[in-house]
């Protein structure tokens, strides 16, 4: 595993490198999983957020490095995914050129899949063709003469059914023999205007001394203005002139330079496939009748809503028992470890409240992540995901998102962590970025306790359950109502990424395999724990230390003394002494809670909260609310426990606690211009709720955004949302005070 983890592309080991190439939805990843088993390593390509999957293939005694390149339709490098493919195939940016390309083709749609192969024939890298999903092709009445295809392409052809593992051993053998006896794809005959244009381009660049391109590279520059090879040319003006004149000569021969490449390849493939593919009669696809139902205006919408309801319910409710179990496990571990460390209170608190609570705080996300990816794998493997995206695309297209944003945003209503992870299903980088940034605006379940506490305490008793319900609903809506226009703003004015056409290929309906689904769940779960979990744990320990230190012992002494003076007024000396000896006595508990509260007030975070309280003053927050908000960074719901401690009630309070509610009702300003006035007036309460709805007071979300995008975007998202939340709270408080 170690050797594997250290084998990025730039390696010099003797192991041959084999790359899997193919369109999306061809079963490429399934085949990769089948070939490597669990001996695989998922990371990002250096410097970009494109997922890089590599693994080890063992055949007989030898090992081969296998690389699963991102799925792409052609070599036109528009997205980051496609650029990576081009970089690897071109051996650029320090990537090792693969020794063998294994093309995974969907046998049900051979011609379209062969376009990529045809384009790659220029590269001269040894190749091997895999016809996957041969069973589905057979069912659709498509017969393929693999031998003839192999003869015409000049490379071996293997048939497989990846989902059932058919043809795997033949494929492994073919890979080994292709490495021993490599054969390259036969090149396509280019029309003269193209070869001439290419020649002029190469000569021109060479003369100007800016760059030397091979024929294959020149072709890419000619057909693709964003080509990675064009980026490498220093003299951009000269390049543009040369490309323009080549395009002119292409246009003069009657071709559209924009589509000429595909047109020429497809014409070539038409003749190449003559006699290779035989379709018996008109293709009657099984999915036509299912589509008629699932994409129906009425029934399709109803089915979509039911499916999404089940997904959401399972995330929101069915995950609860598992999450409770993890909570129980966390406190059991704390209770178990705690006595062993009682001699060193600082270490005891670090281990129990920092580390174990932090680990628990990481694991708590697992049930929702696993459940969501179970459904995502299920929906994608059956072929429904593309249909769902088709149905709702219009709802999102106006603001730069697309139909595939629906599931991530819906999941974010349960929790933004799995929601952000689910954006991996969006292939358009711009839409994915926007969806990730919008996901934390959805009101996750961790915000609910705050709403329930405040609505239950201040709104329901005054205005009745109907208004209370309405406010709760509005709180769930406010994030979404702001997020979509924000997405539009961001997309229209700020994001400089090229918009990609939203084109969905409707895959055949398939029966999903459990093996595949579990692989996806395992892969995502593991990735979350290893890559985001460490950061979340670090946040947890950091916030713990800020809440624990400096822990001056004089705080405890002073609190105890003032408490004893107070108690002496109502109780006799003997009563107090007895009570203090008995840890369970009411007096002792009150004292413990006061000490905890005093420690928080004196902690670094408490001091910081007091220091920044003026910033939150325009929203009507006192220092206690401010500290509560700040300390909830590791996990939003922690604010309830923190408020419990700050208000001398101990950490064991929940959103339904009557004690906490009555304390909040009676809380008054102790200083400043509002001295004596109640802290929690209606505008303040609404302001706090809006603040919580809009802020990204969640370390785990910051961590996962940093993992999925980068730290710059995570910081942008965090500060942007906090600023927006502050603005919202201030507006509500100030307007509310005027009314």
């Amino acid at each position: 595993m170690n050797a594997l983890a250290e084998s990025p592309l730039k390696k010099t080991t003797a192991r041959p490198l084999v790359a899997l190439v193919g369109n999306p939805n061809t079963g490429k990843s399934t085949l990769f999983n089948r070939l490597t088993g669990l001996r695989q390593h998922i990371a990002n390509y250096p410097g970009i957020t494109v997922e890089k999957k590599s693994g080890l293939l063992r055949v007989g005694g030898s090992s081969i490095d296998l690389l699963d390149l991102p799925g792409c339709y052609s070599l036109t490098a528009v997205s980051k995914d496609e650029r990576v493919v081009m970089d690897v195939l071109g051996g650029r940016r320090g990537f090792q050129k693969p020794d063998l390309l294994v093309f995974i083709l969907d046998a049900t749609n051979l011609k379209r899949n062969l376009l990529l192969v045809s384009q790659c024939s220029e590269l001269g890298i040894p190749a091997l063709i895999v016809l996957n999903q041969c069973d589905a092709a057979k069912r659709n009445g498509i017969r393929i003469d693999a031998d003839l295809l192999s003869k015409r392409l000049g490379v071996p052809v293997v048939k497989t059914v990846a989902t059932r593992g058919q043809g795997l051993s033949e494929l492994k053998d073919a890979i080994v023999s292709a490495l021993e006896l490599p054969s390259v794809l036969s090149r396509i005959p280019w029309p003269e205007c193209i070869t001439q244009g290419c020649g002029l381009l190469r000569a021109g660049l060479q003369n100007s001394g800016s760059s030397e391109l091979s024929q294959a590279e020149a072709l890419r520059v000619l057909f693709d203005s964003d080509s990675v090879f064009a980026c490498g040319v220093s003299d951009k003006i000269c390049l543009k002139k040369l490309v323009d004149s080549a395009h002119r000569s292409i246009r003069d021969s009657g071709l559209n330079p924009g589509s000429a490449e595909a047109v020429i390849h497809y014409r070539h493939l038409d003749s190449l496939l003559e006699g290779v593919v035989e379709a018996s009669g008109p293709i009657a696809r099984s999915h036509d009748s299912i589509d008629a139902l699932l994409l129906n205006r009425v029934w399709g919408t109803l089915i979509f809503l039911s499916v999404m309801y089940v997904v959401f319910q399972s995330l929101y409710s069915w995950s609860a028992p598992l999450m409770d179990l993890i909570d129980l496990g966390t406190s059991a571990a704390q209770d178990f470890i705690s006595p062993f460390l009682s001699s060193t209170p600082a270490l005891q608190s670090l281990v129990c409240d920092g580390i174990i609570a932090g680990v628990g705080g990481v694991l708590i996300f697992l049930p929702q992540i696993l459940i969501l990816f179970f459904f995502i794998a299920l929906l994608e493997d059956t072929g429904y995901m593309a249909r769902a995206a088709f149905l709702v695309d219009k709802l999102f297209s106006w603001c730069g998102l697309n139909g595939r944003s629906f599931v991530p945003l819906l999941s974010s209503y349960a929790c933004a962590i799995p929601g952000v992870m689910a954006t991996r299903t969006l292939s358009d980088p711009k839409a994915r970025l926007t969806t990730i940034l919008m996901a934390p605006f959805m009101s996750c379940s961790a915000r609910l306790p705050v709403y329930i506490l405040l609505i239950g305490t201040f709104i329901e008793p005054l205005y009745g359950p109907l208004v209370a319900g309405g406010v709760l609903f509005a709180m769930h809506f406010v994030g979404l109502a702001l997020a979509l226009p924000l997405a539009w703003l961001l997309n229209t004015f700020f994001l400089k990424i090229k918009t990609q056409p939203f084109i969905l290929e409707m895959p055949d309906y398939r029966v999903p395999t459990l093996r595949n689904i579990f692989h996806r769940m395992w892969e995502r779960g593991r990735e979350f724990v290893l890559r985001a979990g460490t950061v979340i744990l670090a946040f947890s320990v950091l916030i713990w230390s800020l809440l624990y230190f400096p822990r001056d012992p004089s705080v405890e002494e002073q609190t105890t003394q003032s408490f004893l003076r107070e108690a002496a007024a109502n109780h006799s000396e003997v009563e107090i002494q007895d009570a203090l000896k008995n840890p369970a006595s009411e007096l002792n508990q009150v004292l413990t809670h006061r000490i905890d509260s005093a420690y928080i007030e004196q902690s670094y975070l408490g001091r910081f909260g007091k220091a920044v309280q003026p910033v939150f003053d325009p929203a009507g927050f006192d220092w206690k609310i401010t500290v509560g908000v700040l300390s909830s960074f590791p996990a939003r719901e922690v604010i309830i426990a923190t408020m419990g401690i700050i208000y001398n009630l101990g950490a064991d309070v929940d959103e339904g606690s009557d004690d906490l509610r009555s304390v909040l009702l009676n809380e008054k300003w102790t200083s400043g211009p509002r001295k004596g006035e109640p802290v929690f007036t209606l505008p303040v309460v609404l302001g706090i709720m809006v603040f919580f709805a809009l802020c990204m007071q969640c370390g785990a979300t910051v961590a996962i955004i940093a993992r999925e995008l980068n730290w710059r975007w995570a910081a942008f998202s965090f500060f942007g949302m906090t600023g927006l939340a502050w603005l919202g709270a201030v507006l509500i408080y100030q307007i509310g005070r005027l009314i």
Binding site: G258, S259, V263, R297, F502, L504
Partner: protein
């Protein structure tokens, strides 16, 4: 001329008045692709997906909200937004 041989006629001044674009077809309509209107990078992408001159395309349905549309091309069901369908020129009538 090569363009004639490959079945593609490129009009120099963009969309000719007599041709229609894919987004103007109704559900059930069948038409032959004539070309792609612009030579922007979207043209390359659409062509790569199989929207090339001479092929038949049939509109199978619209999404519940009217956009995107779903078409059948070479036995493949492909969904695209009207904005993309607009750059594909078609000829031939309704069926």
């Amino acid at each position: 001329m090569l363009g004639v041989m490959l079945g593609e006629f490129e009009s120099q001044n963009g969309i000719a008045a007599c041709t229609r674009t894919l987004d103007s077809l109704r559900v059930g309509d069948c038409a032959e692709i004539e070309g792609i209107a612009t030579d922007c990078d979207r043209a390359n992408r659409m062509a790569s997906l199989g929207f090339i001159p001479g092929r038949m395309v049939r509109v199978t349905r619209f999404a519940p909200l009217g956009d995107p549309i779903s078409v059948q091309l070479e036995g493949q069901e492909i969904s695209l937004r009207r904005a993309e369908a607009r750059i594909i020129r078609v000829k031939g009538g309704a069926e």
